[in-house]
Symmetry: C2
Subunit: 725 residues, 2 copies
């Protein structure tokens, strides 16, 4: 087997890029290498500068705490960049146009305004145009320093996106309490399913050397409201709980703290045995309980604001309470009890399945956890992946959402593109997140959206949260591509408020990151919004799922039946043969539909009602099944594959039309990646079609191009050095 | 076992750095993150600017080839940065102060000057103050475009280091033909013995995406005259020779070519079996020979200027000709024959040893290769590590230097600090390189220095070379620390001319990289020049060697007798017991001394003549052996350890005194690293002394502090996630 995927061009075209780069070297310009993310603060157009300058004459913000110092530094940096000159920094408003920021406790001027900050909570803020000490001012006020920092970022964002600072009257507070990035980072620096270099945590040099990059990481997170980070992989190593590593964790916590971020750790359930010398990790064993209590106390001595633990237990080989015939609730509660005295939480993952269980994998998490509803301590969040399988290009929402009203459910989205083309494919995940968050569980009747489940509104939970599996690594641009940065951005913005519009957020991000020019913003937002459906189409249209290469999860491998476990094999999921294709999860099959609320179940069950997007997720159908479109299933399937490829071509064409409107460095990188994506979209289409044809023997619909290679060719491709495994 | 090395401070002090960083964020300043290496081109002082401006009014350099375009772009970038404004670019000299550059073939103005370029060769250049077309000009002339590029970098270097441009009359050409970096980079991105992140080669995205960083890498190399790179690890993977990888290699070659760099590959000797489907890799087998010939033809079709192969054979488990009872010459010549029609070379490593061979490891390479002198093809270089063991902090020169007059020997230095504290210790390797290059082999009488062996002068070889095992990775500053950059720099400068002064090169580097101010240059050069002796003292004084942690090679582990092979165990090397210490390589021992030329052998043999620095390398002596100093060996040993630690304290104190004279970011990072180095120097001293005392039972000499911990403590330390393994 050979890796011939990239053999489509005899002469590397990247060379053109290299020669362009030599030319660009002549000017020692600002390098648009992506490091600054959406916090570039490039000078605005002259007209905007003059409009804004009158409203940003001076900064009045006492920097007496690290968080307020961070807020002031950011305002200074941002305004200096956007407006071309630094505003004055004063201890009181002395002229019109002051930006006056602080809490009533830290700012006498703000205290004197007697603002109603009642419903802003500990992280909200207001921004208002008010008179302060006789001068026209823009006021940023909050109950806490972190609120002030968030307000400072929001003010800058308004300027970056060209919104007026006149008569501002804005109040905002986060709808989710816990807004965390999950880093699947190992202690050796490898990032599982990471496609942007190594871990940004340099465990080897910590705690002695605290990379300034940690501060820039925290800045970026604070700017979108992310308030926590799980530093290590859910496939956890107990070593991180040893004292010498806790010192390293404490150093990171110190760098993130000024920006309102708490650190969390993935806890390995068997740690009491592996590093504690105990003979068991049974959660009901008193010695085990004491070990975790002591460990928790030790952690909080070093990190007083430690967030808590994330746990992957009894899943994919990880240890857990079931090893001792205890329930997930027993395990979670034991850890919760250890953390509770310090205010820590447990995020317990519902991502469990076993190939020893003959039941449909899509059903197993629900079957396992639904009966435990009401049995968890109040400081436990159940962390549920958006869909019932595993971060596929498209899945229906997990049936757990809405099914456990007594338990706060936390969303787990994947920001890294494990199943979506790794670093190089342009896929804006805002569209996927929005689709899930707006899905209606109907748990309490119409309007019981997933967003309302996880923000606590539906069932009255105060402890709420959203987690994103980070796409961040040591690459200079953090995320491996410019557009991957948008996925970090939109995750943060939706964690803050899960009912925001993915399109609006995309437009914000483009303005902050690429260009404020509408001639760029409109087409790029269009590209982003189209990109998710495109990848679904060229990879797994019509509800197909889990057809990617085994192990590394790259490229098409629908024929693979070799995985170590039945439920890791693509053939388990598509069940295609000479006659038909699809996984029957209706009442005649695994009956996974029954795990949804009755109106939802009825809709998924009924071939007349089910959206095409979920058709083969829930139904096994003959190749000649007649779709609503009038086309057969086979015709429709091929049409979707082709459409996915065509969409990528369209993305490329749009991007090419923007040459010259975007800096050369980021333009060229994205252009190179889009060409990779186009070739790989074609590969997905062609390899998939070649395989389905080998089963169904059907000719291609008229007008459809034959696969470029034989099925043998596609099956011969191998990727021994695929990243992220 | 636990990793408690870093437990010496309860509160991470790196946090101060994080808070400083927040403050620094206020100004969107030029980030001194080290990316620009010694090519920063920061504005010079006003007095210098006005002096230089008159001599850099315009650039006259036809950019009709990629190399001349690169030269012009570099001059433009450099002059713009140094002088604050771009010079004009013209097609002929129009005013005094022109910089006129080119070859006689590309520049009519230079052709008209009728300069004598005869002895400059294909890479040399001259820089002269001359009148061109009636105007005072600085002329850069060469026989080739690459010579022009080298001259452009040299002109900029003169300005960066504050040298006059008046009446310049400079001719220079490299003394070594092959000046290569060996990247021990694996195809999965891991760098063996790399401490600066992952490989800079993004094999996964190549050839479609050619990272602009490759161009900056080539610029940096060209600026010091490095003209080649071996892209992959000597512990080679045959996959890199497959077509799909050769396309990736070709893309890198395309990015490096304008800068005069050729790419080379490490060739796995068994590749004909692994990717060629042959049953043997016997170098005398016709099918094997044909396979390599075909592979070589294939490579040159894609990369017409491919440099050749580097081979590690029959060493540390690598396959080689001895697997078929053939000699190293048989193996090297077979590959040489395949490459010869295309002008390629073979760099065959002499680093071979086997634990199945009962002979002293230090003798084995000489024993193996000396008899093969004269048997290699003319396009084979024998690549010899500087010492007979393996890149230890100090070794005597390899006895092969001078011993194979009919074979061109190529130097292999290590730039990465595998045995020297990894990324964090400040060790300027220029001192080590200089010590080796100036060592006198006496092969043809006095003055037969290693430098003269490898530059071909001693034995009249035209094919010459120097290789450096790269310390380059994906870290933003390329090398993991500011001072590690100096090791890349000095390697390049000494490869160009192995008789240059390490101190002069250090001063050049400091001026280009840190500050031109003598108040910085003098103390920093002093730090650098003292640093090598310091690390020898705190790690392995008086000729001790190979006492580091097994496997990862980090930290002291002189007690270790557990390695998989006897010759990987520290106890093999120090042979210490109750009575004495040292490896007897004199005529009463392994007689490794006999491999040196008689006057050198006599000096190493004789306890009265041997320098203290090599004492325990060649002799086993009682602890109470009386040194020239009058102290016993034990007293002297302890004194050296302590001196090493004291020297590091002195380096720190000097650095602290420079605060404010160096940008905050690089100052802080180096300060943090120096504190790590101080703690680790103390650890090396204390652990080593504790162990020797456990053997000899001797008290510490008066005034010497006892180790901070017990030997048990030091023996309990473990580093499962040490980088670079």
């Amino acid at each position: 087997m050979t890796d011939r995927r990239r053999a489509w061009h005899p002469v590397p075209r990247g060379l053109t890029l290299a020669l362009l780069w030599i030319a660009a070297l002549a000017r020692p310009a600002f390098a648009e290498d992506g490091y600054d993310l959406w916090l570039r603060y490039q000078a605005l157009a002259a007209a905007q500068v003059s409009a804004y300058r009158a409203q940003a004459t001076e900064i009045v913000l006492d920097a007496g705490t690290p968080s307020r110092a961070a807020a002031r530094a950011e305002l200074l940096r941002g305004l200096t960049g956007l407006l071309g000159a630094p505003p004055a920094v004063r201890d009181r408003a002395t002229t019109d146009g002051a930006i006056v920021a602080g809490t009533p406790a830290s700012s006498p001027a703000i205290a004197r305004l007697n603002l109603d900050l009642g419903n802003l909570g500990p992280e909200g803020f207001l921004i208002r145009s008010l008179r302060v000490d006789g001068h026209a001012a823009t006021v940023i006020a909050a109950n806490t320093d972190i609120g002030v920092l968030y307000g400072a970022f929001r003010l800058l964002q308004r300027m970056q996106t060209g919104q007026s600072l006149r008569q501002v009257d804005l109040r905002d507070a986060p709808r989710e309490k816990i807004r965390v990035l999950d880093h699947w980072d190992n202690l050796d620096g490898h990032v599982e399913r990471g496609y942007a270099g190594n871990s940004i945590w340099d465990w080897w040099k910590l705690p002695d050397y605290v990379d300034p990059r940690y501060t820039d990481y925290a800045r970026a997170n604070a700017s979108v409201g992310i308030n926590g980070a799980v530093l290590n992989n859910v496939n956890a190593n107990a070593t991180v709980l040893k004292q010498e590593y806790l010192l390293k964790v404490a150093a990171i916590a110190g760098a993130l703290r000024p920006y309102g971020m708490r650190v969390y750790l993935s806890a390995r359930f068997s740690a009491p045995m592996e590093i504690g010398g105990l003979k068991t990790a049974d959660p009901l064993d008193p010695a085990v309980r004491a070990w975790w209590r002591d460990k928790s106390n030790e952690i909080y001595r070093l990190i007083p604001d430690f967030g808590g633990f994330l746990v992957k237990a009894n899943s994919e080989g990880q240890p857990g309470p079931q090893d001792y015939k205890r329930t997930h609730a027993d395990g979670a509660n034991m850890l919760a009890d250890a953390l509770a005295p310090h205010g820590g939480i447990v995020m317990w993952r519902a991502f469990v399945y076993s190939n020893e269980n003959p039941d449909d994998r899509a059903r197993q998490a629900y079957t396992e956890f639904k009966p435990l509803d009401g049995q968890f301590r109040s400081n436990v969040l159940l962390q549920v992946k958006n869909g019932p399988i595993d971060f596929q290009p498209r899945e229906p929402f997990s049936p757990l959402f809405g099914a456990m009203p007594k338990t706060p459910l936390m969303m787990e989205f994947q920001v890294t593109k494990e199943y979506l083309g790794f670093a190089t494919h342009l896929v804006y995940l805002g569209a996927l997140y929005e689709e899930v968050l707006r899905a209606d569980t109907q748990a309490r009747g119409k309007g019981s959206t997933v967003a309302k489940v996880i923000d606590g509104a539906l069932d009255g939970h105060a402890l709420t949260g959203m987690a994103g599996v980070a796409n961040i690594g040591s690459d200079r641009d953090w995320c491996g591509s410019t557009f991957n940065q948008a996925n970090w951005y939109v995750f943060g913005r939706l964690a803050w408020n899960p009912e925001q519009s993915a399109r609006d957020i995309a437009a914000e991000w483009v303005r902050m990151t690429l260009a404020v020019d509408d001639a760029v913003v409109q087409p790029v937002v269009g590209m982003m919004m189209a990109s998710h459906e495109a990848v679904v189409d060229y990879m797994t249209p019509l509800g197909l799922h889990h057809l990617m290469g085994t192990g590394h999860h790259y490229g098409p491998m629908p024929w693979d039946a070799s995985g170590a476990r039945a439920d890791w094999r693509p053939v388990y999921y598509h069940r295609a043969d000479r006659n038909g294709i699809g996984f029957d999860r209706s009442s005649t099959g695994s009956n996974a539909v029954s795990q949804y609320a009755p109106p939802v179940a009825a809709r998924f069950e009924d071939l007349k009602q089910i959206p095409d997007a979920y058709l083969l997720w829930f139904h096994h159908l003959p190749w000649d099944y007649r779709m609503r479109s009038g086309r057969t299933l086979w015709e429709e399937l091929v049409r979707h594959y082709t459409h996915g490829v065509d969409e990528v071509k369209r993305l490329r064409a749009t991007w090419t039309g923007l040459e010259g409107r975007i800096d050369a460095q980021r333009y060229a990188k994205t252009a190179a990646f889009l060409l990779i994506q186009q070739h790989e979209a074609q590969w997905w289409r062609d390899a998939s079609i070649a395989y389905w044809q080998s089963l169904n023997g059907l000719p291609l619909p008229p007008g459809e191009a034959a696969p470029a290679h034989t099925l043998d060719y596609y099956q011969s491709l191998a990727f021994p050095y695929a990243p992220g495994r």
